[in-house]
Amino acid sequence: MSEKAKSIASKKSSGQDERLQNVSKLKLLLNRPELGALGGAILVFIFFGIVAGDTGMFSAYGMLNFLDVSANLGIIAIAAAMLMIGGEFDLSIGSMIGFAGICIAIPAIYWGWPLWISIVFAFAMAVLVGYFNGILVVRTGLPSFIVTLAMLFILRGATLAITRLITGRTQVPGLRVLIENDPIAWMFATDTFKWLFTWLGSMNLIALRTDGTPLATGIPPSVIWFIAATLFATWILMKTRYGNWIFASGGDKNGATNVGVPVGRVKISLFIGTAVAATIFATIQVLDAGSADTMRGNLKELEAIAAAVVGGCLLTGGYGSAIGAAFGALIFGTVSMGIFYTDVDTDWFKVFLGAMMLIAVVFNNYVRRRVTESK
């Protein structure tokens, strides 16, 4: 009896015409995961354009400022987004940032290693930590939330303990002098397009210092890494077999396994990805500041996940985009810097961050229901 009722309720699937094609294309656009973040970013820019348009926030110097903050967050947010699409979390990103920082600083300062070897060493440690996270999650079948939460404490604690043991304090300064002539460090420490800014300065198009050099000297390395990471991650997700495996692993582990997707390997590689992204973040920051701090990257894992969620990633995996996460990071970076240019007390930033995430999750939930519900 109920079967008959069901069949009457189910719509016929044959005989569609072109009009439906148009509708479905529009729907498809609305269903893109990054749409919400793109809209959010536009709203944020309009808001600050009105509120802080005349304050210097949108001068070359001001823009590079909030782009730098966005880019740093973006690098880890993109890796976190890919891992989330693959169906897992990494809460140890922030601790990995601190750990990678001292992996560079202690060998370079206390053991006399060349800086570039220290950087390579930090990346090797990142691969190891990521692999360990991944293998633990895959082998034990425990939620990655718990496994990486444990790693959050272990890594942060080890960073603090090891640093104090070797150096007697919690900060390792003195790296700046080592950057020059290093074969690798420039990749993380050089402003690019300086000629452009010099030219813009000479044309009096951007603000100058009293000595005539432009206030904004070039595009910071974080922005270049951020753009490269966004393009690379998007290429992987959309254009490669491995990308399809990431979606499949997060979307339905069993189904993916049944058709031959190496789900375990995919997940392990994504955990390595987040640890490596944290190390890129750490290297840029350590070389920029000239020192490593054991507390660096604190709570960054949550900001990264928040940016990924605002960017349209579902907490349950299988859906999301790298571009979305990039826009999510841009929103957070812009607001966290932009708030200084307004009369609003900066204490309100976290309120905004939380509210933004809530709205995003509700919106994503709605999108998911639309995508998964049968007609």
């Binding site: 699937s13 498809l28 299988g318 995508v371």
Partner: protein
Amino acid sequence: MSENLIEFNNISKFFGKVIALKDVTMKLKEGEIMCLLGDNGAGKSTLIKTLAGVYKPDEGEILIEGKKTIFDSPKDALDMGIGTVYQDLALVPLMSVTRNFFMGREPLKGPPLLKTFDIEKANQIAAERMGQIGIDVRDPSQAVGTMSGGERQCLAISRAIYFGAKVLVLDEPTSALGVHQASMVLKYVVKAASEGLAVILITHNVHHAYPVGNSFTVLNRGKSLGTFDKKDISREDLLGMMAGGEELSKLEVELKEMGRINN
């Protein structure tokens, strides 16, 4: 056409003391649809997994195109042309039709080491294949989640055929579907058989099996009650042979007495 595409001779499977299958024999020719009927616990799942290469039979032999064969793994069975579509279909609702169709077996293009997923080709093949079944995927990049249950089942079957199945093993393809959706799937199964595939349709629904089947094998408590050609057996007989068939007719009588069934 006289040669059997697949043959099971006296297959038995034991799990410790439990006899899951005992002396099951069945034969299947090209273009034939054999329905495997049985109630829950009759040994259907064990038989499917033996067909799919998940279990190795403890007794008996499997012949593929007349040759004795042992499946060492599910991949072995796949390579031999046994395409199994499980009940869960192995489809990801959030992913597109194309991405599901080629999941794990993506077509590649480009130079070595920089090979990319050939989305255009994949889209084209997926749309073409779905079109052949009469499912108009308006856009092969639409999510599978937007498809109806019947369409999803057809997609999974179509995928198995595309990747080289000669024998299709379908596990309860209509169990979760309404009448309209089920008939759509069954129509496709008949079409696939008419194109030369052998189909083993596992179901507990005689009403779905009877119209499409050429022969019927009834399993009860791990044993085959025999294989019957359609001309030799009626729907009611089949229903009666399945465990629970008797109970169902009793139930019908009781319900009639209660006045709940009017027709």
